[in-house]
Symmetry: D3
Subunit: 67 residues, 6 copies
């Protein structure tokens, strides 16, 4: 019954990529801890680049600077 929350910036992840994250995170919990996949929940949050900061700057600004 684990709950996994994956937070990424909203930069065009496809439905196929998100399905791969869900499948992979679920399998990780099965492999490492023997958890039941049927009750393992994975939720992906996509966050605007203005709303995500690292190093005191937003990702929007960092992308403009080529970081």
């Amino acid at each position: 019954m684990p709950y996994v929350n994956i937070r990424i910036t909203r930069e065009g992840a496809t439905a196929e990529q998100k399905a791969a994250l869900i499948k992979g995170a679920t399998q990780l919990l099965v492999d490492v801890l023997g958890k039941n996949p049927a009750t393992t929940v994975v939720v992906i949050d996509e966050v605007e680049t203005d709303n995500w900061g690292i190093g005191g700057e937003s990702i929007t600004v960092r992308r403009q600077q080529g970081k």
Copy 2:
């Protein structure tokens, strides 16, 4: 001063239904723990069905399969 975060898939919950979740969750904390409703916060997150997985599959896929 509790904080309650309710995460559901985005599938058409109405403003009335969301008001009922806010009212009900607040009352639950009052009834069970005697918390002060004036400082009880409830936040509802609605998540795209592509972004929510259970059993290793997205809800989008499960809905298509009639699960």
Copy 3:
């Protein structure tokens, strides 16, 4: 398949009270949105009073001041 996270201060909630929160929050999602209780997850976080603030002060300090 909703996920509900209830965050409260750690001030002696009993196993019975926590069971009542789990039961009540699950029932709320059934009643308001017709969700399936079998896949509804409720997680309660108990937080030290030094680690919870409102109005710019910790709950520890507010309790000492009789607030």
Copy 4:
């Protein structure tokens, strides 16, 4: 390497204001705990006023009542 999540209602915060939150929260962790800003992450979630409740009512309703 701290992670700071700031949740506010979606009521028109500008990119400049969000940049100020990111900068300010990062600096706070540097000033108080000596954390490394390069690995300090700040994520801002903007939540619809229908989806945020306090005192058992949504912010939408409270705004209409002039609260």
Copy 5:
């Protein structure tokens, strides 16, 4: 710069198992989305079985019933 939060019940996960979750979740973000592992954060929360509910019951009660 993704942030992954893995929430599990506190039932004896070892440091080695937790290291495997950290390594595996980080690699998943690299493989699926090409994210930079150096700024990928993984946080594991271990939650008491009294504080985790599914199907309206705590995990403590479900374990006693052999579920």
Copy 6:
């Protein structure tokens, strides 16, 4: 009515330091967005170093390597 969640590793933050985080984060929301401090909630989570990873490694391991 903002909600701020600050997550740090558990490495001896004092009650005074945590009070400073609460005061500073609350003031930041007042200064940048004009929020009401009386309903601004700050919650600090302290996480074991085995349970926090960056770059695919736990903080426990990174501390041992002098990172």
